[in-house]
């Protein structure tokens, strides 16, 4: 498990508009940037910029379909990032146990 994509994934997820777009793709399936302007109150150009960030983080994949690309959710990086967070948490639980034992011995 590598942590190297987590930063991009979390940065992508940190924006509420992008979370709204992911939510729509998750519930309703693939959509184009134009279709997604019905979902969030921003321009098509702004939607396209958000989709580019999501695509860069590996959270959506775009396919040419007619005149516009259609985007679908590819959630694997999200679960990888969550797994990574769980591993970091488990590491700290171990460390803090060790710290407690270390201090008891002094």
């Amino acid at each position: 498990m590598t942590p190297d994509r987590s930063a991009e994934v979390f940065a992508a997820l940190s924006d509420p508009t992008r979370r709204r777009l992911l939510d729509h793709l998750s519930r309703r399936g693939p959509a184009s940037a134009t279709e997604l302007t019905d979902v969030v109150p921003i321009s098509r150009q702004a939607v396209a910029k958000h989709l580019a960030v999501l695509e860069e983080a590996g959270l959506v994949a775009g396919e040419r379909s007619g005149r516009e690309r259609r985007f679908r959710l590819t959630p694997a990086p999200m679960s990888e990032a969550m797994s990574w967070m769980a591993a970091v948490g488990a590491d700290w639980d171990e460390r803090l146990d060790a710290l407690r034992r270390h201090l008891r011995r002094r």
Binding site: S6, D91, W92, L99, H102, L103
Partner: protein
């Protein structure tokens, strides 16, 4: 979502906990580390499996706060170098009766304001 938080009470006064967090870090961290509680100083953490990661100390308030930032790459056993995400660890302590409360936060991504120019 992008951070891990833990908070525990430790059976020792702040001065002892501070010593364990700094000079004594290798005793409990799970890695050998040459950490010095000096702002701007570099530390190297070496895990038993041969993995190595660098860090830079960012904030030091004796017996209160120690923060360090992970450098965004690590050396793996076998000699290669892998890019990993930026990250930051904050260790804050405060007295609690005769004990000490330690709050740990590890950010897995750099906080937004640091996202630009996080290297170095």
């Amino acid at each position: 979502m992008d951070r891990v938080n833990r908070r525990i009470e430790l059976p020792a006064p702040p001065a002892e906990v501070w010593s364990a967090l700094t000079e004594g870090i290798s005793e409990w961290f799970g890695a050998e580390a040459d950490l010095r509680p000096e702002r701007g100083s570099r530390a190297t953490f070496r895990w038993p499996d041969g993995r190595e990661r660098g860090a830079v100390v960012e904030a030091v308030e004796p017996e209160r706060l120690l923060t360090f930032r992970w450098l965004p790459f690590e050396r793996v056993s076998g000699g290669g170098t892998a890019m990993v995400g930026p990250g930051r660890v904050e260790l804050a302590i405060a007295p609690s009766g005769r004990a000490t409360v330690l709050s740990v936060t590890e950010w897995v991504a750099a906080p937004a304001r640091e996202a630009e120019g996080a290297l170095g």
